[in-house]
């Protein structure tokens, strides 16, 4: 298990150097989006409109936080189940998205788009929202404010801990790891 530090956004070469099972600390800017925001981005693209942020080299975090208490950047902030975004993900990857942070399985079409574009699917630890919030330095809603917790937020993160689940070669840690510990 290799430990790596990565700055976001990053390029395809950086993504291709990450491998299934790597423990990675992300620092830089990432964007949150979950079900409702993905649906809106998808519709915007279908109508020929642009996305609310420059997606090139970016990482999307599938997360809807709990409200922040006064003086804090954010509330509890752990990953949501990624498969609900599977329908929308391949087109975002084809537009330059280089990473997603979530939890749980992905569709085959997502794995193929990850390989085709040289991207990474990271898992953060599900249900560790209080712990993960400590790696988020600031949070700002940049689009779809009316969606509440589902709005798109720009997050500044420092050493945000994730694990590479699907790498640019299409290896899948969920499949491999289970094999290793099945009795």
């Amino acid at each position: 298990m290799a430990e790596k530090q990565i700055t976001v956004p990053y390029d395809e070469k950086t993504a291709r150097d990450l491998h299934c099972g790597d423990y990675v600390y992300l620092t830089g800017t990432i964007y949150t989006a979950r079900d409702a925001a993905h649906k809106r981005m998808y519709e915007a693209l279908a109508e020929g409109n642009g996305l609310p942020f420059d997606i090139e080299g970016q990482v999307i975090y599938y997360m809807g936080p709990s409200p922040a208490r006064e003086g804090r950047a954010i509330g509890s902030a752990g990953p949501t189940t990624a498969s609900r975004m599977d329908k929308y993900t391949p087109s975002l990857l084809d537009l330059g998205l280089k990473g997603m942070i979530g939890k749980g399985k992905r569709a085959e079409a997502v794995r193929e788009a990850i390989v085709r574009n040289g991207a990474v699917y990271f898992a953060a630890v599900g249900g560790a929202g209080a712990l993960l919030s400590k790696a988020i330095v600031s949070s700002e809603v940049i689009a779809y404010d009316d969606l509440g917790t589902e709005a798109i937020r720009k997050l500044e993160v420092k050493d945000f801990p994730v694990i590479v689940v699907i790498d640019g070669e299409g290896n899948n840690l969920y499949e491999r790891a289970i094999e290793a510990y099945r009795v």
Binding site: Y23, G64, S76, T80, L147, G148, L173, I178
Partner: protein, 280 residues
Amino acid sequence: MRIIRVEEIVRNIKEMCIEANHYLTEDMKLALKEAEKKEKSPLGKQILHQLEDNLQIAAQDMIPICQDTGMAVIFMEIGQDVHVEGGLLTDAVNEGVRQGYREGYLRKSVVADPVLRENTKDNTPAVIHYDIVEGEQIRITVAPKGFGSENMSRVFMLKPADGVEGIKNAVLEAVREAGPNACPPVVVGVGIGGTFEKCALLAKKALTRPVGERSKLPYVREMEEELLEKINQSGIGPGGLGGSTTALAVNINTYPTHIAGLPVAVNMCCHVNRHCVRVL
């Protein structure tokens, strides 16, 4: 007859929503600690350790344990010699949830209509289960339920001939398919018997039983123990990233059923198995 004012119910439910989302019960904390000691995968051990750290941070800094602070599932066991005064009981329960989610900085995750999907912005309505029992008290259980694991839950309408083997296969299938999605290590609530809806309710209620407490029925206890062992041999592990801790407990509840049926419900719950009980 004893009179209980709705204001008392509102206040308690408000406090319980906040408490349940920031502190797990002692049995859950102990189970995580024990699991960390026994876990075979180094990464799995690390994840379990992070989950314990997460609980500490949540309690110290008042940050919800998980950002999915759930849909509020509330069991109201009402003594039949209690009279509720001052308004409608259901309104009081929902008002408690509204205040708890607002004042406790909890996430509002409820949409008013399952298809139109507009957020109600106060996490109401709750899902409330009323039960009339003896006595002159009200026993309230607040169990906020996250949907990562709820989405992986299943109902199986088995045939009587499927028997114990059929039940075990159903539970194992549900856990296997849930894999990493349900945020393992999970607690598996199982309901056997009743009708279609009754077995689901039994499974939900089973999640509120302490994880270290086994069924009093010998054959059920055996099934709970055997299923836990088999689930932990699946390899899924903490976070689904491989390991020997996939579940912390299998809790099974049973109920009489029809001569033609064997309903089985499997309600998956993540390691943030939240519930808070008070007796008024």
